[in-house]
Amino acid sequence: MFGDFPRAGFSHWALVGVLTFLVLASPPVFLRFGRGAVRQVAPPTEEQIENLRQKNKELAAKNRELEAKDLELTLVNRRLAELDKVKSEFVSVASHQLRTPLAAVKWLFHMMTSGDLGSITDEQKYFLARGGESADRIIAVVNNLLDVGLAKDGAREFKFVPVNLNELVDGVVFEFYHVAKEKKIELAAEQLRSATPPVEADPVRLIMALENIVDNAIKYTKPGGKVTITINDDRINSARSTVEIVVADTGIGIPLAEQGRIFDRFFRCANAVKMVPDGIGLGLATAREIIIRHGGELRFISKEGEGTKFFLVIPARQPERISKID
């Protein structure tokens, strides 16, 4: 059993001596494993101990700091959640408080205009109809302001579901059919050639975005002009699978000098103000916010006096992280 040992052949006593020696000689044996092992085993110097104590103290301090930060973040988070709730409540209450009297005014004008409250002269009818339109405009402003609030709400507010873009575009065209016809503007949607799989989108928000763009296109195009909505799925099979809704008009266009500002809230181009004096400049800001929240982008090309093309580019699929939050 001591065959490997050079002194294996010694007498019993000698063997005991060797064993003793081996125990005593333990540290040198470690040399075979390298110098590092020795260093670890060697007793630390006072200086090293002091150094370690110091480091320990620093670590403890950092730990306390982290704990404090953690608590701070928890509190900030809670505060943000509270603010979010307050904001949400504000939007809810504001919508209700503002809309209720507006609804009354709107209904009253409409009822009087249509003779529900007794017969009226043509002149009275004309003025009452104007009143009704004004009420509608205030309501549109209130809705628009609230929509911006909604578009800016947290990710959990967006609900991504499979959406058939052909149907969505059809719906929007239908919505604007009368407005366009009254203004003698040709409004048409060019359908996709083949069946495209549904894209993952928040239909309510996407419709809102598209309506804002189409509304502008009709508003800022003179009678006899044309507004065309096209769905482009050329990039659906590319690495970053996207689909585009293109809204092209033959309208007044966006002046080059103002093209950098059109997505700013409340900004309106000079030629737009001239054509439609009472807009509020939130439509594009809202639309852009919505498209960005889809992980897409809202681009445009425009030439003053010739027309504008808006591209609502949205990814075909939403990344897991977004669809999972709910």
């Binding site: 809309r99 209720t100 609804a103 709107k106 209904w107 009822m111 609230l146 909604l150």
Partner: protein, 125 residues
């Protein structure tokens, strides 16, 4: 023939809105009933057995959501279509109302009373 007219129960706390809606409904040949809060609304629903209920959501006491919940639990009341007619318009409100069994959700300010009549007539076939 009074009892052949379709009957609409309006649960609405705002007096002026109530007057306008009732006026419009009656002009269009509906028979009407009103309630000014959730509790009396539920009672009126059981009493008058309307063909359709127009329900506001922000009501004193028992609110519209609670009214929907109670209707939903009642075998007899559940059969009557309830159209929410409110100025609350957040998605959560709409989804909550629909999940509680509302047949439709109309935001007052976005509809004229003509639109409302069309919706009611569609609903009643």
């Amino acid at each position: 023939m009074e009892n052949q007219k379709p009957k609409v129960l309006l649960i609405e706390d705002d007096e002026f809105l109530r007057t306008l809606v009732i006026k419009r409904l009656e002009n269009d040949g509906f028979s009407t009933a009103v309630a000014i809060d959730g509790e009396s609304g539920l009672a009126a629903m059981a009493d008058t057995k309307p063909d359709l209920v127009l329900l506001d959501l922000l009501l004193p006491g028992v609110n519209g959501f609670e009214v929907l919940g109670k209707i939903n639990q009642n075998e007899n009341l559940r059969r009557i279509p309830v159209v929410v007619f409110s100025n609350l318009g957040q998605r959560e409100d709409i989804e909550k109302a629909l999940s509680l069994g509302a047949a439709d959700y109309l935001i007052k300010a976005n509809f004229t009373l003509d639109d409302l009549i069309v919706k009611i007539k569609q609903r009643l076939g």
